[in-house]
């Protein structure tokens, strides 16, 4: 009994640094954020307690309601697009072929480019009058191509989601899927081959169930990344107002704009609380949906 207590104390001692960090850098900021969201804090001046006024005003604001809609749409589509792409890349890398290491390096390389630099590079590529892509299309077509990729409501989402394929999040997903695919027992495929199963059938009946815990992990991680990390990609790409016409103004952009352009810290904190709740809701929803679909061997 005394030994067990001593072991527990030792274990607690080892995780103490993490607990201190968690309290200082996660718990305290969350409490501070909630508290600030109940005030009219600006960047300068003394804040006053205003109760739930920020939340009431938020739900009357067309800008916020649009941003909420864009955030939900952006998160769902981004998770699907990046996960599917990462899976395709991982499946290709899982094939036994020469130079696999080089392919893996090449697929992962864009992921280590900082999002901001990536966004600026793509902004240049997708320009209208001086864009690289339009220039290339003009050469191929032999006539002027002036597609306004990032400002046309028909193409902006296409471009933004295309760019997300090159972010760190997608590269990370690919590596995780890749490690999972390598662990799928080969005899399952051999048995399926004997039964004459097609490649598609093998994927949906063997591969996907076997790596379903990783799909769940990537979905949750991708969601949180889309909610919080999209700022670094979208701010240099479409600006803090989420051009065109607020179509890309996700909540993280709106929070930045309210806090650092309008100096409304209380309101921005209230928006952050909503983002926090949204991330939690997405996480819970994914776990609920995955309850019946994720297969654990043990």
């Amino acid at each position: 009994m005394a030994q067990k207590k001593r072991d527990n104390r030792t274990a607690f001692f080892f995780i103490l640094p993490w607990i201190i960090g968690f309290i200082c850098f996660t718990v305290f900021p969350v409490i501070f954020m909630v508290r600030t969201s109940l005030t009219n804090a600006k960047m300068v001046g003394k804040p006053k307690f205003i109760g739930a006024a920020n939340y009431r005003n938020m739900f009357k604001s067309a800008t916020f309601l649009n941003s909420l809609k864009v955030t939900v749409f952006f998160t769902i589509v981004m998770v699907i697009v990046t996960a599917v792409w990462a899976m395709i890349m991982a499946l290709l890398l899982n094939r036994k072929q020469k130079l696999n290491g080089i392919f893996q390096f090449c697929y992962f390389l864009p992921s280590v480019v900082p999002s901001v630099a990536l966004a600026y590079a793509f902004r240049t590529i997708f320009g209208k009058d001086a864009g690289l892509l339009n220039g290339l299309l003009t050469l191929i077509r032999g006539g002027a191509v002036n597609i306004n990729w990032l400002y046309d409501k028909q193409t902006v989402y296409l471009v933004v989601f295309f760019i997300t394929l090159f972010t760190y999040n997608t590269g990370q997903m690919m590596l995780i899927f890749r490690s999972g695919l390598a662990d799928v027992p080969e005899d399952l495929y051999e048995a399926a081959d004997l039964d004459g199963a097609s490649a598609v059938r093998k994927f949906f009946k063997i591969t996907l169930p076997m790596i379903s815990p990783l799909v769940l992990f990537n979905a949750v991680n991708g969601c949180i990344s889309a909610l919080n990390g999209s700022f670094a990609l979208l701010y240099p790409l479409t600006g803090e107002s989420g051009d065109p016409n607020g179509m890309t103004q996700v909540l993280s952009l709106l929070i930045y704009k309210e806090a650092f352009s309008n100096m409304k810290l209380g309101y921005a904190s209230a928006l952050s609380v909503i983002l926090f709740l949204l991330a939690a809701a997405f996480g819970i929803a994914i776990f609920l949906i995955s309850g019946k679909t994720v297969y654990y061997e043990n």
Binding site: Y151, K257, K264
Partner: protein, 408 residues
């Protein structure tokens, strides 16, 4: 022997190094040391570096902290919020000075000015008005920039159109833009973050109400947006895009409304003949003035030294160097009249009166509003040009967002 000689040389070098290091704070010990915040890079030419000249003139060591323009206002707000004393002099923008004064983040300068050679009655009228209601003078304008129209003389010659004058009407501008449009060349560029407001103010809207601090746009904005949309549809003006190229500088647009500070950038760098004129007059002659104010951080530990530096920078020599370096006139009328802001490298400019006329017509407008509000409005104006909103919808939505934000 060699070792001993080497030791002596090394010891000598160390002593020299220590002496050299010691000489840096020597100036600080004599005249003090101050730090100033700005968003502009310091001029690399020593003869045009006003901070270096201020050091020489006052004996105060001046450290310059350059903060990128996109983060400048929020960084200063954070400094005031946390009673930061790392900067003694802050160049504060129009939309922040009132908040900083009310929060006690900057000192009133009236006591200093009482014994100073700076003549505050010499400031251009708009600057003097900006201090109204603050209960004192909290900042001194470092310069007075304005908005003007740049035009490509070669394109005007080729089209056989007379050059713009300072009494050009808005109708003259539209007619010329249409004639100047050819395949691959636009008649004019799209208004930028600054000059949207020149167009809207010129069309008769107040833009900014100094009494209430509100954004005031309506029929003028609708009218100007309708005109711009028409010009985009006719290919006279490009539609908004992610292109970062300056169409005027690239020789792809004949006219462009931009800040006067672009004179310094264009001087000697454009491979065509160009000149300037005032923004064409629509219902009223309108353009926005731009400046920053030298302010004294209330938490500074070096106020006397900081004031000495401000006094130099606002004096004739400091203002003249600033004008030569930035191409911006002084906000002090007698110094501006001397014309140091007429950048020598801008050899193709003949109509320098455009600057003085613009300054005379200039007001502090949209720059007094939160940048999130004006940025949001410009985003909606761009949506009109892209055909995603009507001008009426854009004006209503921009006003609605401004009402939610201002006075929070």
């Amino acid at each position: 022997m060699k070792k001993r000689a080497l030791s002596i040389v090394l010891a000598g070098m160390m002593a020299a190094t220590l002496a050299a290091v010691g000489s840096v704070p020597a100036m600080a010990e004599d005249g003090g040391e101050v730090t100033i915040t700005t968003w502009n890079e310091v001029n690399p030419d020593d003869s045009l570096n006003m901070y270096k000249k201020a050091e020489e003139a006052t004996g105060v060591k001046v450290n310059v902290t350059v903060i990128p323009e996109s983060d400048y206002s929020s960084k200063l707000n954070q400094m005031v919020n946390t009673a930061d004393s790392s900067a003694d002099i802050m160049i504060v923008w129009e939309n922040d000075i009132k908040n900083f004064a009310e929060a006690g983040g900057i000192d009133a300068l009236d006591d200093y000015l009482a014994d100073s050679s700076i003549d505050t009655t010499d400031f251009i009228d708009a600057v003097a008005k900006l201090s109204d209601g603050l209960g004192g003078t909290y900042g001194l304008p470092w310069c007075a920039a304005t908005e003007i129209m740049y035009y490509n003389k070669d394109m005007f010659d080729a089209a056989g159109i007379e050059y713009p004058t300072n009494d050009w009407s808005y109708e003259d501008f539209k007619a010329a833009a249409e004639k100047l449009t050819t395949d691959g060349v636009y008649g004019c560029t799209i208004p930028n973050l600054q000059t949207w407001w020149a167009g809207i103010g010129g069309a008769g809207d107040q833009v900014y109400d100094p009494e209430s601090g509100e954004l005031v746009i309506g029929e003028g904005a609708v009218s100007f947006l309708t005109d711009c949309k028409d010009m985009v549809d006719k290919n006279i003006m490009p539609e908004p895009s992610s292109d970062t190229t300056d169409m005027f500088a690239a020789g792809k647009a004949a006219m462009s409304w931009q800040g006067s500070w672009m004179i310094g950038s264009y001087a000697g760098s454009l491979d065509f003949n160009w000149d300037i004129a005032t923004i064409p007059t629509n219902q009223v002659k309108y353009n926005t003035l731009h400046t920053g104010f030298y302010t004294l951080n209330a938490n500074s530990q070096n106020k006397e030294a900081a004031w000495k530096v401000i006094e130099y920078l606002m004096g004739e020599e400091g203002q003249t160097i600033n004008s030569k370096s930035s191409a911006n006139p002084s906000a002090l009328k007698t110094i501006a009249d001397q014309g140091a802001w007429k950048v020598e490298a801008a050899t193709s400019i003949t109509n320098w009166d455009a600057m003085t006329d613009s300054l005379a017509a200039g007001v502090f407008g949209y720059t007094c509003l939160p940048s999130g509000v004006t940025g949001d409005a410009v985003s909606k104006f761009n949506s009109v040009l892209l055909g995603e909103m009507t001008p009426e919808e854009a004006v209503e939505a921009a006003s609605q967002y401004a009402a939610e934000t201002i006075g929070y």
